[in-house]
């Protein structure tokens, strides 16, 4: 365990002044800033007006005890992720178990051992930091609604298998386009393009998780569960094409170049989770489904279609969406031929 945990703002809740002094002293010696509350009610008051990174919580207290505090913390979204370390006597282990079931992160027995205190606080603060970071990433890559949904349904961002639909999209002939106009115009164009695409994707519950140059990857069904992820991905694709058409009308009116996009969509099992390092991480999916979606996107140029989907996406679609069977195709990277379908644009699904 590291001996130089970054300092945090801690709240010590204990009705016994000696315990408060002791914990406070230990924590201040470790470089943290400490505030004190004598009971649960006072603690909630302080939480309402200040930000804390971690709470050290006594169980037995007058007015409002530790259990009630834990209950309140769960009720409020912005409090839910503050790690709580329960401080208790050794013979109270049953109570500790209950606290952990109620959302407490960890526990320390009193009298508190300074080495354990340092270790537990360090681990708690680190978890808080990672959670803040995850939340920030989700905010950045998802819309406020999706981020909110995620927070409410609880984060499930660890690596896992999920049934999802993956979408790849990029601008056709972008390099030529970029060469024909000023760099400022190109960036401007990309920003408008991304804004429109984000709107269509997140409007259908998808999450854009990668943007590279003029291409993007979006996931429907993870990290937010979507029961009809395939249908929603295809609807998003149709909206994207519609938006590009509208955008092109605008471009044409000001004699600026038109853009065309290709979209590939595939559904199936993916491995989803956070990847990267502690400093930089992103939510992503890997697996055959992801590869297939990327290949289908590339294949739109060969097929001369705007939207291509795989067999399993098509099978999940409602009758409201028309598709046309393009038969078996040899897609790069696949040994066997795969059956592909085009989704005619301009249909009002």
């Amino acid at each position: 365990m590291s001996h130089n945990t970054s300092p945090g703002r801690l709240l010590v809740v204990d009705d016994n002044k000696v315990n408060r002094l002791l914990l406070g002293r230990g924590l201040e010696q470790q470089g943290h800033r400490v505030a004190f509350a004598e009971n649960g009610r006072q603690a909630l008051d302080m939480l309402a007006h200040n930000n804390f990174d971690l709470i050290l919580l006594d169980i037995q207290m007058p007015e409002m005890d530790g259990y009630q505090v834990l209950e309140k913390l769960q009720e409020k979204l912005e409090w839910r992720d503050i790690p709580v370390i329960v401080t208790s006597a050794l013979e109270e282990l049953d109570s500790v178990v209950r606290c952990i079931e109620m959302g407490a992160e960890d526990y320390l027995t009193k009298p508190v051992n300074p080495v354990l205190l340092r270790a537990r606080i360090g681990a708690g603060l680190e978890k808080k930091r990672l959670r803040d970071q995850q939340r920030e990433l989700v905010r950045r890559f998802a819309t406020a609604e999706v981020a909110q949904d995620l927070e409410e349904s609880g984060f499930a961002l660890g690596g896992r298998f999920v049934e999802a639909t993956v979408m790849f999209s990029d601008i056709r002939g972008f390099t030529t386009l970029a060469e024909a106009q000023s760099p400022a115009d190109t960036i401007d164009l990309l920003n408008t393009y991304y804004t429109l695409m984000f709107e269509a994707i997140s409007g259908q519950g998808g999450v854009v998780n990668q943007m590279v140059g003029d291409g993007l990857m979006a996931i429907f069904g993870a990290p937010l569960l979507l029961p009809r992820h395939a249908e929603q991905a295809v609807r998003a694709a149709l909206e994207m094409i519609e938006m590009i058409d509208l955008f092109n009308l605008d471009q044409a009116a000001t004699s600026r170049p038109l853009i065309h996009i290709g979209i590939g969509i595939a559904s199936g099992t993916v491995i989803a989770g956070y990847t990267g390092t502690q400093r930089r991480a992103t939510y992503t999916c890997v697996g055959d489904t992801v590869n297939l979606a990327a290949r289908l996107e590339a294949y739109t140029k060969i097929a001369g279609q705007s939207i291509l989907i795989d067999e399993s996406t098509r099978q999940s679609l409602s009758a409201a969406i028309q598709t046309s069977d393009l038969g078996l195709a040899q897609v790069t990277g696949k040994v066997q031929e795969v059956r592909i379908y085009a989704v005619p644009t301009g249909q009002k699904a």
């Binding site: 002044k17 000696v18 002094l21 002791l22 006597a89």
Partner: protein
């Protein structure tokens, strides 16, 4: 010798080493003051037959006493806490008397230790 029985010397020494002598002096004063107050409240809870408050107050004394190395007193407080939890305070009077006199010994002993160099 008396001091060593009432206060665990190892706990007290560690506390002084880890937290600093000045801080421990302040801590001892707070402890004596607070524990005196808690014992008063225990008598009130006993008179009011409030066993929940009785258990909670005893719990508090148990916890801070252990921190300062007053292990016997902490054990006594633990017994009072258990009594409080049974909702039957009929036997609690003599127990509380013993705790009260035990605390006086602890207080004297802590004051001695506090004034040591």
């Amino acid at each position: 010798m008396q001091a060593q029985l009432v206060i665990d010397p190892r706990t007290y020494r560690q506390l002084k080493e880890q937290m600093g002598a000045d801080f421990v002096r302040e801590l001892v004063e707070t402890y004596c003051h607070e524990t005196g107050r808690l014992i008063e409240q225990l008598y009130q809870a006993l008179a009011a037959h409030d066993s929940a408050a009785f258990a909670r107050l005893a719990h508090s004394i148990k916890s801070s006493s252990a921190s300062l190395g007053a292990l016997n007193l902490s054990q006594q407080a633990r017994q009072l806490e258990l009594t409080g939890q049974t909702n039957d305070l009929s036997e609690a009077g003599p127990q509380l008397e013993r705790l009260s006199s035990g605390f006086l010994k602890v207080k004297r002993c802590l004051e001695e230790l506090r004034d040591e160099p």
